[in-house]
Assembly symmetry: C2
Homo-oligomer: 154 residues x 2
């Protein structure tokens, strides 16, 4: 999987959080080891299916970071990862993937998006079940970390 494929997702994440939640994440060093996994407190996951390719994307947030995003995005303070936070993470997941889908369609890569699923639970881990290389992209913020992972089967 090359940068041409990954960059639209990174751009989507940064753009969605900056415009919707006035939150700026700083990209860290990508992790490529197959036994690395993303850890966090809430994750949005979405499947992608194209004519010749299939894959999955996840975005994982630490609790304090997503609660701040919630406050900025919807003007509502939550102290816990509740159903409203989960809904917002589902929307963010859809928006990141939708952004990338449009960019990649212009480059000739076509896929359809499944419906997102949100997982909540203190320090859960995410493992994408695909053959081939996996890349986890960490992002830093003073309130916590986020991890973006995009995997395709080819």
């Amino acid at each position: 999987m090359n940068a041409e494929f990954v960059n639209p997702f990174i751009g989507g994440l940064l753009n969605v959080l900056e415009t919707m939640a006035q939150t700026t994440l700083t990209p860290g060093k990508p992790k490529r080891k197959n036994d690395d996994v993303a850890h966090g407190d809430v994750s949005g996951l979405i499947g992608m299916v194209g004519p010749n390719v299939k894959g999955s994307m996840s975005i994982t947030f630490d609790k304090n970071l997503i609660l701040s995003i919630m406050q900025n995005m919807l003007g509502e303070a939550s102290s816990e990862i509740d159903a409203e936070v989960a809904d917002m993470v589902g929307e963010i997941t859809n928006m990141i993937c939708g952004n990338a889908k449009r960019d990649l369609a212009e480059k000739g890569y076509e896929f359809g998006m499944a419906t997102p699923v949100v997982v909540s639970g203190k320090q859960h881990s995410i493992s994408h079940q695909v053959d081939g290389p996996k890349i986890i992209l960490p992002f830093n913020h003073e309130l916590g970390k986020a991890y973006l992972e995009i995997c395709f089967d080819k």
Copy 2:
């Protein structure tokens, strides 16, 4: 979403665990309330995309139940939900969805399967982000519970 659509997934789950792991689950009463969520220690999730429909499926297991399935299926004892257990949950997820995909294709419902994602973490919860009705199907076993959830956007 009607029984014709749900039953192939239930049949797939029961069949996969009986034939591969000599494990018999007992179906419980379906839950239909929108604020019900499935809880468990390890989950497999997969997205589905068809020409006119998209959705997601999850299968969630309590720890002691999945470790017993691991022992029966691969002859390997694990005391924790490690990478090997996660890989097996990914395979089970693929098999359940693949079984249902074949059955539903014969009935004229077509969709493609994304690649599965496995989530590990003590008592995490799963929330499918779709409009419309959601159905959680609980399954009982002396070692713990399993939850199957299938959601489509229409």
